[in-house]
């Protein structure tokens, strides 16, 4: 289970990577894509949409379920990964790089500090896996 050390995480399994000042890239984690199974389609937000942290910004449909994607930070949608319209499976094969979902322009970059570290996230998914096995 890949958990890139330099990313930050949410407890709804989104990852955040800081690009340059005020721009972050967001995707879903390897743990999330594995749980979802083969992804069939992705619903992306519109460019320029203002989003609040915790707000739903997209939807990922797999064979098993539809799963919401939540904004890990507040800001404006600056870019969406158009590749996902033609090849949603890239989220399964490369969730942390090619499978990125949106880029958000953030006003207060300090919001990142509220997000989980890689270690904390690894602990979370370890705990979830244990619960599943019960």
């Amino acid at each position: 289970m890949a958990v890139p050390k330099d990313y930050r995480y949410t407890d709804s399994h989104e990852w955040v990577r800081i690009e340059e000042d005020n721009l972050v890239t967001v995707g879903i984690t390897d743990y999330a894509q594995e749980k979802l199974g083969d992804i069939v389609s992705v619903e992306l937000p519109r460019l320029g949409d203002e989003v609040e942290r915790g707000e739903r910004i997209g939807m990922i449909d797999s064979q098993k379920a539809s799963s919401e994607v939540f904004a890990p930070v507040s800001g404006v949608i600056a870019e969406v990964n158009e590749l996902l319209n033609d090849d949603p499976a890239v989220i399964n094969s490369d969730p942390h790089e090619e499978g990125w979902i949106v880029r958000i322009e953030v006003e207060e970059i300090e919001q990142i500090d509220d997000l989980m570290s890689a270690d904390d996230y690894e602990e979370l998914i370890g705990r979830l896996d244990e619960e599943d096995a019960d």
Binding site: D38, V40, S41, D61, Q63, K64, A65, P88, D132
Partner: protein, 488 residues
Amino acid sequence: MSVTSGVLHEEPSIFERGAPGRRGVAVPDAGAAAPAIPERLLRRSAPLLPEVSELETVRHFTRLSRMNYGVDVGLYPLGSCTMKYNPRACEDAAAMAGFADLHPYAPASASQGALEVMWELERALVEISGMSAVTLLPAAGAHGELAGLKVIRKALSARGDARKKVLIPDTAHGTNPASVALNGWQAVEVKSNADGILDPSAVAAAMADDVAGIMITNPNTLGLFEGRIFEVSQVVHAKGGLVYGDGANLNAILGKYRPACLGIDVIQFNLHKTFSTPHGGGGPGSGPVGVAHDLVRFLPVPRVVRGPDGMLSLSDAFPDSIGRVRSFAGQFLVMVRALAYIRGLGPEGLARVAERAVLNANYVRARLAGRLHLPYPGPCMHEAVFSDKVQGKAGVTTMDMAKRLMDKGFHPPTVYFPLIVHGAIMIEPTETEDKQSIDEFVAAMEAIVEEAATAPDGLHAAPSLTPVSRPDEVEAARRPVLAWKPGS
């Protein structure tokens, strides 16, 4: 003992049969008698029709029919669907000319028999459920859910209360939150407790003045009786909410208790489940809705009314109604079958239905408990839910086992639902299966469990005796092909 051995017909589509110029019908040349069709309506090119003989056509559809699996072929253990046998007496009733040939626009004076059927069925469902009145109009279960939610919405707005949320247990069928969303409301999930049922305290924590009510299924989709449902209803009512009962699992409690007694205000019936009207190929279904006394005036129209002269008619004269939910009078011939079923069994017969349904499911549970993991041990109602936890250790999934069941000649049970059980296997034999039939199914499951323990790799390739093995469902979802085209 019946055995299935593969008879594989690779039957292409009818367009891929035949040969150019082949005809099944000899169409004479009209010659001088050809009707004068306006130029603008004449085709420029021939329509895309298959070129097959009558014999090829007959063989094609006969072969397709032989690939068909239904209750008439074998046990159909789809949990939550109640795939019981459809008695032929009910088909006879629906085929009676006075019903089958009745024109939908026939006036009431010429439809008294049909209207009596509706009147009687409404009364029977009232008696069975304890509700005050019933509408037969919704055309399917989920349609009934939506109609029921609209009744609740109108009742709340009539008292000036604009609530927008509905509590939904985590075991709920997906149609419940979908109906809530379609109604423009928001679904709020309530988790079941460790015993698989709703806890009044969990409901109380979620219940608030902006919650319109709760949708609850009893027994729930784990096949468990919601033992605290009365307290849950009280919690919801105390804050001005209403209780919607999803009647999909009514088969377990027919003639044993009335949903109204447990605080349910609105309930939909699935005639195609509990009342044995045919389904499995898409229906048609029928989802009548029963309501408590205070909600009767909001029922959809038209409603069956009896005039002072004793004549029945369909009336729209209900100003507080939510309005129409369906064209004409709903799925009428399905109603005929359901009434014939209810009359054929009578009150004692219906109670026996529930007893046998619960007995059969518990027999399956007891026979398979040592082989498959039971997430909720203890007696079940009309369906038993297992998980793939044990077989998962050898890398065998519920999907693998379900696919192998097809090689054994059975339709698989419901799988991967409810979501709160890992690799759920939901088995509902129904009351119309005898012990031999269930024993055959159990023997097939035992063989599969054995295979999972001794030779698991073979299961990943199952099924091998069916015309199609594992279709690429992901590709089908990503790039569906909905119509055959030449050259494909």
